[in-house]
Structure formats: C-alpha cells, structure tokens
C-alpha cells in the first residue's frame, strides 16, 4: 500500500479538483530558466530537492512589487505602505489556505525551513524542556532538524533519541513504543526524506506521539512543494517548510504551529515589529504572527511565495504529486540499467519524487561533474544528511530530484549520461 495516500487529504475533500494530467510543455514554457543552455546543451534541471526553478509569475510578482509597491510594512500610513502590507499579509493568507491552517495568524514567516525548525527548538524548547526530558528524532533527518536539538541538548541536558532507518530506507517502527515514553516531549521527523525519498506515515507517527503526550514537529520541506498537505488533517503541532523549494524566492520560509502553542511561546528574536510596547523597564510582545517576526521582513519574498502558491494551486497539487510519482517510478525502472548503480531508498510506492544513488565506478562528485558537462544538474554530496549516509556506510551519494516541469526524456538523458560516466571511469 502507499503511505502517501494514507495521509494526503481525503479525496472526499470538495476543495480538491479532480486529478488531471499535467501539460508539461505549457508548464515548461512558463519557466524562463529552462530555456538556458549549459555547456551548449539544453538544461536538464534535476536538483529540485535543493531548490526549485521559478515561473514567470513569481519573477513578475517580485519585479512588480519593487517597481510599484515597495515600502515597509505595518509602519507607514502612506499608500505604498498600506498596499505593501496588504500584499504581504495577503500572501500569508494564501499560504494559510494552501496548507489548510486554521487561520493566517498561525503562519509565521521565517527565512527558511531551518529557521522555522530553530524557532521551535529555541523558543518552545527553551521554555519547555528541562534536564532529563527526551526529544525523539529520526536517523533520516536533515541536519537542520538535528543540530538545533543537539545545541539544546548541550545547553539543557535533554536527551536525544533516534528512530533508526532500515536497509530499504524506511523508518524502523517496530520499537517505536520503546522510543516514545512519558519522558518524550517532542517527536520531530521529516514528512519525506531528502535522500532516500521515503514518505513517512505522518498520521500514524503523530498518533503514537500524542498518545504519550509528546508534541509533533514535522519537517515538510520535501512535502509541501510536491503533494497536498493539510496541516489540520495531519494533526501535527508544528510544521516547517521553505519557499524556495516550491517555486518561491529564497529568503522566505514558514513555521506553522497550533495557535495555543505559539501563543504560549516566548519570542524568538527581539526587535521591531515583534513588540506591542517597549519601555526602558521592559516590553510587551506583539500578537501572532508578528511576535516571531522581528525586524523588517522579507516582504518581496513573501509576496513571491504567495504567487508561487497561486501557481501551484492552479496546476493542482494532486496532479503534481501524481506526475512526480510516475516520473520517479520510470526513473527507478530505468536507472538499474546503468552498470554498478545502487539505488538508496524504498520502492516507488513508498517514496516521493527523488532518487539518490551511488555508482561503483565513480565518486558522486565525478558523476555530477560529468553530467554537468552534458547540461544535467544533479546534487552530489551528503545532502545535509550525514548521519543517514553513515548509516548506509557511504561518504556521499548522487541525487536526481524531480518537479512538475521534468519529463521522461530528461530521465532518459540522465540514464544516457550515467552510461557515459561509467564508460569514462571504468578501467
């Protein structure tokens, strides 16, 4: 069975348009960068898990903002400031609807997903965790959902536990009830691994965490851009993702949290915009969401993310997810044709739109460099998931990750390129 289908929104949800096939050629025409040539060859962009490309509508939204509306938000009473504020808060409302938050107040802008995860560790963690408390994470987490907790562990004497990863790249959940105890205060895990591609059973894990009274922090970086995500239906407590992986600009990310939790949390950073009043004797925090947004925010970027959400909604998240699943299944079928290629992670039905692999003949850096010469962009390295690579006893891997504009022909080019890599480095 497919894990993903079990925790995407119900098909009975009337807001979801029926799944339709993507018109990839039309979509590709809307991404100016896809016209680029790399070393004289058409760009084949397969590094979407690192960052996505941007459609014309997002680029235009940024330009339009700077050309026509640029002003600081929440401050001026002049026309530009009012327009900028309306657009900026309008983008928040779009994102709120996109992830089905209860209300836009629960959508906190951050610089990126890393900062969103750090807000939970620094604000909620510092206010609520004490020596002897446990935080449960998984071995497949991105560094950004490990390191903030390690910092807190060193500072507060809390204990970190980890759900281990099986050989097929799925979580080993047999002993979950031993790892989740009355001392576990928070369970932080990724919706979808950025290395092995595994889509985790979010609802099942959340239910188990809530049974012992632990909160759930979901790293949804690889999920929100690629599939319908319903924060309320998932029943998690915090959810983090970044804008630039979902067609939006860099410099904008989101922390969504339950209002009562966010209300009870202390501010993360102090400064302008996050206060109600300041006196030399002290300050009072602003209300949600601004309590967590000190300083002039990434206004253009938030508006750009709003445009990205409009674009994704118009195409349809169900359609995007379906197209990526098909493309990934095709890649998983074709890649083993390459000599000495080992795929990391589970079968197509348990994963999202990316495939990490190693080649016997060549180091991932050499794979990526040779493919780059063929116009093909993939990622090589440990993808900010060194513990997971250690678990598989490999220093690094190569990764091809897909998005709505990728095609079967591009997978064919990847496979052809990999044959060339093997030929070059075999002796």
């Amino acid at each position: 069975m497919s894990h993903s289908e079990s925790h995407t929104p119900d098909s009975g949800d009337t807001k979801c348009a029926p799944t339709r096939a993507l018109d990839v050629e039309t979509i590709r025409a809307e991404f100016p960068i896809l016209q680029r040539r790399i070393h004289g060859l058409p760009l084949v962009y397969l590094d979407n898990a690192a960052t996505s490309q941007k459609p014309r509508s997002v680029i235009d939204a940024l330009t339009r903002y700077y050309e026509q509306t640029n002003a600081n938000v929440h401050r001026g009473v002049h026309t530009l400031s009012e327009e900028a504020t309306a657009q900026y808060e309008g983008a928040r409302a779009k994102v709120s609807t996109f992830i089905n938050a209860t209300c836009p107040k629960e959508v906190i802008w951050t610089r990126n997903a890393s900062e969103a995860l750090n807000v939970v560790a620094y604000s909620w963690g510092r206010a609520n965790l004490k020596r002897g408390d446990h935080v449960l994470l998984t071995e497949m987490e991105h560094h950004s959902n490990i390191v903030p907790w390690q910092i807190l562990a060193a500072e507060r004497g809390i204990e970190l536990d980890f759900v281990r990863v099986a050989d097929d790249g799925t979580l080993m959940l047999d002993n979950l009830n031993k790892l989740l105890t009355s001392r576990t205060r928070l369970f932080g895990f990724t919706y979808m691994s950025n290395v092995v591609g595994t889509i985790n059973p979010v609802k099942e894990l959340t239910l188990a965490a809530h049974k012992v009274g632990a909160l759930v922090l979901l790293d949804a970086c690889q999920a929100v851009p690629h599939m319908p995500v319903d924060a309320q239906a998932l029943d998690v407590d915090f959810l983090a993702f970044s804008g630039h992986k979902m067609l939006g600009p860099t410099g904008i990310g989101v922390l969504w949290g339950r209002r009562e939790l966010l209300n009870a949390m202390p501010p993360f950073m102090g400064g302008g915009d996050m206060i109600r009043e300041v006196h030399l004797s002290g300050f009072k925090s602003s209300e949600l969401p601004w309590k967590f947004e000190a300083g002039t925010p990434a206004i253009a970027q938030a508006i750009g993310l709003g445009a990205a959400v409009d674009y994704l909604s118009q195409v349809g998240m169900d359609a995007i997810h379906q197209a990526e699943r098909e493309l990934t299944a095709y890649a998983l079928q074709r890649l083993p044709e390459v000599k000495g290629l080992r795929i990391l992670g589970p079968s197509a039905d348990k994963r999202g739109g990316l495939v990490a692999f190693t080649l016997e003949a060549a180091h991932p850096h050499d794979i990526a460099a040779v493919l780059d010469n063929l116009g093909i962009a993939i990622r090589a390295g440990h993808h900010c998931a060194q513990p997971l690579h250690e678990r598989f006893n490999i220093p690094a891997s190569a990764r091809a990750s897909f998005y709505l504009y990728n095609t079967r022909e591009e997978v064919d080019l990847l496979v052809k390129g990999l044959h060339k890599v093997v030929e070059m480095f075999t002796f």
Binding site: A362, H363, P364, H365, D366, A369, V370, N373, A380, G381, H382, Q386, H389, I394, P395, A396, M424, F425, F427
Partner: protein, 124 residues
C-alpha cells in the same frame, strides 16, 4: 571535458605511490567531511628530504589525481621547500581549471602534506 583531461583520468585509474611505506617517518590522515574524500599520507624523510611517499584513501577523481601527481613531484624535495608549497603548486601540477566547489577536493592532498611536514597534530 577539461576537468577530466586524459592525464587526470590516467592518474585516477593508475595512481602513483598508492599504498603504504614500510617505515614512514611521518603519517598524516585528513578528510574532507563535505564530500567524504579521505587520505592517509606517509612520508619517508632522509637528510631533510622526502626519500619516499605513499598514500591511501578514497575520493573523487580530482582528489586522487592530485594526490598521485603531488606524490610524484615531492620525492627528492626538501621539507623546507615543501613548507612553501601553496594552492598554485597543486594547480600547476593538475593543469586544469577547478571551480570553487571542487577546489577542496584538489587541495586535500596538499593540506595533508603541509600538515605532515609542519608536524601538526591530527584533529581526530
């Protein structure tokens, strides 16, 4: 393709001085955790000069070719001379343009050699 010039691939496929020395005077292990490149460099020093060198480890073609080429070059050189080696010394040997990301691969053998001849302690 420039990065993988014939000579680079030749050194990658048939690395010179790959292996161990019987009685090394200096041994230094270094790694580049970002890409997983790893090198152990062994030097035999006689009269202040490199009498022999050997390396082991694993890594990409660039780091391995750099280690192989560097090893060929440093035999017979004095420690004082090697202390003066820098990035350009390796780039001249490789004879290719290496971009900002891959430069760390190319310089790992140099880093290990310099640390060995300066007598630095290993981090780990």
């Amino acid at each position: 393709m420039d990065l993988y010039a014939e000579e680079i691939l030749d050194h990658y496929k048939h690395p010179r001085h790959f292996g161990h020395l019987d009685d090394p005077s200096l041994v230094y292990h270094d790694r580049n955790p970002l890409c997983g490149d790893e090198i152990t460099l062994e030097l035999k020093i006689e009269d202040g000069k490199v009498a022999d060198v050997a390396f082991t480890g694993h890594g990409c073609a660039i780091s391995r070719a750099a280690a192989s080429m560097m090893s060929e070059e440093i035999v017979g050189k004095s420690l004082d001379e090697l202390k003066g080696w820098d990035k350009e010394s390796i780039m001249d040997l490789l004879g290719i343009e290496v971009g900002p990301v891959r430069i760390k691969c190319a310089l790992l053998p140099l880093k290990a050699m310099k640390a060995a001849v300066w007598g630095l302690a290993e981090d780990e």
